[in-house]
């Protein structure tokens, strides 16, 4: 605090969020310059937007009368495929990511293994699902197999990274106690390490299941199976009531999954 006598008699002012004055002004000026530049280059066809408002209104109204029936078999098939892809890829992804997470934790794995596993995680995290899906569709052909592989691959990066961080911050005392009783390496992992990361693993798995379902809804856009293809067709044919029905189903399933995962997480922790 600066000199008190200097402050007396002056009204209090809120301290600014960024303390250094020049940095504050520089950031502000840069920001405004960027905004102007960005506005100049974005071309908006306002008459087209205005025309679209009518269709937008129709779409919003479609939510009040979603049409579940007229394309029900397509919706059912797409949904089932999405769910099947989600479940299968979550199981496989989790199964693969546990050993990789153990390998990516510095207090469990030796350095070479650590580097390899961290490399795998980095690659999986840097590539987006949809791009991986495009490549896998090109390689394996259309269908849910490509989507399944994509989601499994994405699960590995997500789960291994968070799990490895959890393992690295585990309680050493328990693990040492198990080691002191003369346990083999596999016993050490099973009784000293695994019980410590299990609650986190269950929570993360549920969260990833939720993400996988949401992602599976878009993989169909590039031909990797799931509800996305049905949704795309509905939009292309301007069948907004069917599209609204599909979106509502997605929202309800995501809400149910979120609720389920919060219940399960509350139980295991």
């Amino acid at each position: 605090m600066s000199d008190v006598s200097e402050l007396i008699g002056k009204p209090w002012r809120k301290p600014p969020f960024i303390q250094r004055r020049w940095l504050r002004w520089l950031l502000l000026a840069g920001f405004i310059a960027y905004l102007i530049a960005a506005f100049m280059t974005i071309e908006v066809n306002w008459s087209r937007v205005y025309e679209g408002l009518e269709r937008g209104k129709k779409f919003v109204l479609a939510f009040t009368s979603p049409d579940f029936t007229s394309r029900s078999s397509d919706i059912y098939e797409g949904m089932m495929e999405s769910i099947i892809m989600t479940v299968a890829s979550s199981v496989v992804g989790i199964a693969i990511s546990i050993p990789i997470a153990l390998g990516a934790a510095r207090n469990v794995a030796p350095l070479p293994v650590y580097l390899i596993c961290r490399g795998i995680i980095a690659i999986s995290r840097a590539l987006q699902e949809i791009i991986v899906a495009i490549l896998l569709v090109a390689i394996f052909g259309f269908g849910p197999l490509a989507g399944f592989l994509t989601l499994s691959f994405a699960t590995i990066g997500f789960l291994s990274k968070l799990l490895a961080e959890d393992i690295e911050s585990m309680d050493k005392v328990q693990a040492e106690a198990i080691k002191a009783s003369g346990a083999r390496w596999s016993q050490w992992i099973n009784y000293g390490v695994q019980p410590q990361f299990m609650p986190r693993l269950i929570g993360l798995s549920m969260y990833r299941l939720d993400i996988n379902f949401r992602e599976s809804a878009i993989l169909g856009l590039v031909g990797a199976g799931g509800i996305g293809a049905t949704l795309n067709t509905a939009f292309d044919r301007y069948e907004y009531d069917t599209a609204a029905a599909i979106l509502l189903i997605i929202i309800v399933i995501v809400m149910a999954l979120e609720y389920l995962s919060s219940v399960i997480r509350a139980r295991v922790q």
Binding site: G56, F140, D236, E258
Partner: protein, 271 residues
């Protein structure tokens, strides 16, 4: 503690018999479900293509390497568009996310039974639908282009930002708010001096975090026609110009890595 007796010896076990039985049953159900799912996937797959996959992958690899480096001159504008979609989308999202977050937080919502559920519904519904789907929808409504991408990113981000922000608002230190209230401050003054300073670091962190994710997402929005570098990607894929595809993928990878680095730096400086 479950202990089993075998020929006079006491053996420690992790679970009682009943527990291990129910575990076993759970595993059985899980494996059955997985087997069913796998069978369905397998039935929908043309296995001939899968056995042929190594050859195809090799073929694509030889076509895609080396990347067509001179094509990079045409990628400047798309990258700029991508950056704009992510940044403008994040800003618009934040403008909407802040009020929604205040309405959704238990300690600031004006009405717990009417307004809070509505705010939570907005959060869930915008969050559970991917930005690509929002883009598809907006393209059908307002036509293809960068603008549709900006709005798609904005809508998708509202729920995400509002959720994280309202959790931050619920975790604030109530004593500071009480202190401001005790000075006779009005409702808005309490908000400005008691709550906002406490959530500002979280807010900045969330904004940068979401911006990073949005850069990632906006690189692929072009696949459905919503502007950005994805547009180049899809047109290159459509004409099977693999050297261009590999260059675009490298550029996207670089953009993702740079944005992640920037966001990590900024968040490190804030927290």
């Amino acid at each position: 503690m479950p202990v089993r007796e075998a020929s006079g010896l006491k053996i420690w076990q992790r679970r009682t018999q009943r527990e291990s039985l129910s575990h076993w049953a759970l595993w059985l159900v899980g494996i059955a479900v997985f087997a069913y799912c796998w069978q369905q996937i397998s039935a929908a797959t043309t296995w001939f293509f899968v056995w042929d996959a190594p050859r195809i992958a090799d073929d694509i690899w030889t076509r895609a390497t080396p990347p067509k480096w001179e094509y990079i001159t045409q990628l400047g504008k798309p990258i700029w568009d991508t950056l704009n979609i992510a940044t403008m989308g994040t800003m618009i999202a934040l403008v909407f996310a802040v009020p929604v977050a205040f309405l959704a937080a238990r300690n600031t919502t004006p009405s717990r039974f009417f307004i809070r559920p509505i705010a939570l519904l907005i959060i869930v519904s915008t969050r559970s639908i991917n930005s690509l789907i929002w883009a598809l929808l907006l393209i059908a409504i307002i036509g293809p282009g960068v603008f549709a991408g900006v709005i798609a990113i904005a809508i998708r981000s509202i729920g995400f930002c509002a959720k994280l922000l309202y959790e931050a608002i619920e975790e604030i230190d109530q004593t500071q708010v009480e202190a401001i209230t005790a000075t006779g401050a009005s409702r808005w003054q309490v908000m400005a001096y008691g709550i906002v300073p406490q959530i500002l670091p979280a807010f900045a962190g969330i904004a940068v975090f979401r911006w990073d994710i949005n850069i990632r997402e906006s690189t692929v929005l072009g696949l459905v026609g919503a502007g950005g570098i994805g547009l180049q990607l899809s047109s290159s894929l459509n004409v099977l110009a693999w050297p261009q595809v590999s260059l675009i993928l490298l550029v996207i990878l670089a953009a993702v890595v740079i944005s992640e680095w920037v966001s990590a730096k900024v968040r490190g400086a804030i927290i």
